[in-house]
């Protein structure tokens, strides 16, 4: 571990540059605020997720029901917070999984190269050529609704981004001395890939994870809105919107509320991804060091 000092140095620089970035702070703030809200939100009001109250249908916001009630008298605040748990879970888990899978595929393809690389990159090409919405609709129809199915589909479609980035990074490091040194010392293929190439490819992968998480939330809410993702009675920001849009003339606020949460979630991930990309760019680090 003689390189440990160097590594912490890099991460300390990243953190310092990240802190200087006001935009990054805004992204982090939005994200943590949303996380806190959806975790604590349902517990601060005395209503259950599916607590129907037929005497309080379609009420506007009040001190009893902060966001009002829906057509069955259910508390909208509670439903949006629970929906947020679902949507944020999808975003976080899909973001992490796409990078684990895509990163591994990209590193293997870039390092081993040849036939394997060719096949993998053709698969990526084909996935890029078919519009995402087509595959999303068809696959979710085949797999059927459900949280796990949606996440599997999103990972299956979105690993390509991370794979391309990891492959690109590996191609640029493959011929460098530190890899040659490791090979000469008898390191196995897997050791070279996991111990030497993976840490060096982390920068684009972390950015990809953040942006993929945002893309996953966008895709999940879109699918749920179209009736193919998370199905009621389980709430998601997407299907809450579908439900509210049937009452668009009487209760426009119910359409506004779930959407503004989706907006802040997408905004926070996009801001974070953008700021991390700036903070982790080694070229910028060297200039300002």
């Amino acid at each position: 571990m003689q390189f440990a000092g160097h590594q912490t140095g890099y991460w300390r620089i990243v953190w310092r540059r990240f802190k200087q970035h006001r935009v990054a702070y805004a992204g982090l703030f939005f994200f943590l605020a949303l996380l806190l809200l959806v975790l604590a939100g349902p517990h601060v009001v005395p209503y259950q997720l599916d607590q129907v109250s037929l005497s309080e249908r379609m009420h506007g916001p009040s001190s009893r029901h902060w966001f009002g009630t829906d057509e069955l008298g259910r508390d909208i605040w509670v439903r949006i917070m629970h929906g947020g748990r679902v949507s944020l879970t999808v975003g976080l888990l899909v973001g992490i999984s796409t990078v684990l899978i895509g990163g591994l595929v990209g590193i293997v393809a870039g390092y081993i190269g040849g036939f394997l690389d060719n096949i993998l990159m053709r698969i990526v090409d084909i996935l890029y050529t078919i519009p995402r919405i087509v595959l999303l609709l068809v696959l979710s129809k085949i797999a059927g609704p459900g949280l796990l199915n949606i996440m599997i589909i999103l990972v299956a479609l979105e690993w390509t981004n991370a794979a391309r980035l990891a492959r690109g990074a590996v191609l640029s490091y493959r011929e460098q001395e530190f890899v040659l040194a490791a090979q000469c010392l008898g390191a196995s293929r897997w050791r070279v890939m996991l111990r030497h190439l993976l840490p060096n490819s982390l920068t684009p992968l972390i950015v990809a994870a953040t942006l993929d998480a945002g893309a996953a939330i966008r895709a999940e809410t879109t699918l749920s809105f179209l009736g193919l993702g998370i199905q009621p009675p389980t709430p998601s920001w997407g299907n809450l919107l579908t439900n509210a849009s049937t009452n668009i003339f009487i209760a426009p606020l119910q359409v506004f509320l779930p959407g503004i949460f989706i907006f802040f979630a997408l905004m926070s991930f996009n801001l974070l991804g953008d700021a991390l990309r700036d903070a982790m760019d080694p070229r910028l680090t060297q200039v300002r060091r």
Binding site: L137, I142, G227, I248, M267
Partner: protein, 323 residues
């Protein structure tokens, strides 16, 4: 260049072939009986009639035989018959394709030219308040989910203000062919085109900004300024020409995404285009229509990717293609 073009077009054939086989298999795997809608109106149908119909339509054949038959028919420009609509698939798809092209191309032209202008402004006024404001605004526009933006616009402009229609493409009470009908049609287009254009601004705006900033640093612009040319001519004539090259390519590449985005927008606004047709045909197990729509979209995507490559080489004489 010609050899390059021929090679690229020949490369498209296997790509489209693989895509068609993949999508055919996926659609085949979708749950639901393709004969279901057709049989709903026939209550006294016997089980053996049902079996005869399945055999007649070749639904009992293995999937690869069905695929070959479908492909062979498509190559003769016969897309098949929609059991859902009771019409030849092409009779349904072609009008929808026209509507979608109107929608997406208007959104492209408006969104992208606005993005280019905003990008130029941001680059010329780098680090000014306007630049920061624009960057923030386009970022927000990008983070807004399209279906929600559409619904909010319906609430504001159709429900509250009553300026524009909520959905569809033509009002039922307007006589076709008149001036009023044209105005009515344009009114129906405003909201979907806006929603579709908004989310497409950021990429081109950012690209334009960084591309122009890069060009502005180059020596030949210092020369132009040293000759005493006004800033207007330096940027408008000398810098823009080079800065626009990568931007044009990016614009061509994003066309498929606009078509994909139109699925959601058309569904929200009830606009009778191909995106909505894709959605309804997949939801309603209308296999023939879904398959043809996907193939048309795939062809458009591949063609626009090729167009992007050709434009790049044509605009930038420094790039030469090898056959």
């Amino acid at each position: 260049m010609l050899r390059y073009l021929v090679r690229r077009i020949l490369e498209m054939v296997p790509l489209l072939f693989i895509i068609s086989a993949l999508i055919y298999l996926l659609l085949y795997l979708m749950p639901g009986d393709p004969l279901y809608t057709m049989l709903q109106g026939v209550p006294n149908l016997r089980a053996e009639d049902y079996r005869r119909l399945r055999a007649l339509y070749g639904l009992d054949d293995p999937v690869y035989i069905q695929y070959w038959k479908w492909l062979w028919q498509l190559l003769q420009l016969n897309a098949g018959y929609s059991r859902e609509f009771g019409q030849p698939a092409m009779d349904i798809i072609l009008p929808a394709l026209k509507n979608t092209l109107v929608l997406t191309l208007s959104a492209m032209v408006i969104g992208k030219s606005l993005a280019v202008l905003l990008g130029i402004f941001s680059a010329v006024r780098q680090y000014s308040i306007g630049d920061y404001l624009l960057t923030g605004l386009t970022f927000m526009a990008y983070s807004v989910p399209a279906f929600w933006l559409g619904l909010m616009m319906i609430i504001v402009f159709a429900v509250k203000l009553g300026w524009l229609p909520t959905s569809g493409m033509i009002s039922s009470d307007v006589a076709p062919g008149t001036w009023t009908a044209t105005v009515d049609w344009l009114k129906h287009l405003i909201l979907p085109v806006t929603v579709l254009a908004v989310s497409e601004i950021i990429q081109v705006q950012r690209f334009m900004r960084s591309s122009l900033l890069e060009v502005l640093r180059q020596d030949y612009l210092t020369t132009a300024r040293a000759k005493g040319l006004s800033e207007r001519i330096v940027i408008g004539r000398h810098a823009l020409k080079n800065a626009l090259i990568p931007v044009v390519t990016i614009i061509a590449i994003t066309m498929p995404r606009v078509i994909g985005g139109s699925t959601v927008v058309e569904t929200v606004f009830g606009y009778p285009g191909m995106g909505r047709l894709l959605y309804t045909s997949i939801m309603g197990n209308d296999f023939v229509v879904a398959m043809t729509v996907v193939m048309i979209i795939a062809v458009i995507v591949v063609l626009f990717n090729l167009l992007a490559d050709i434009l790049y080489g044509w605009l930038d004489p420094r790039i030469r293609y090898q056959g």
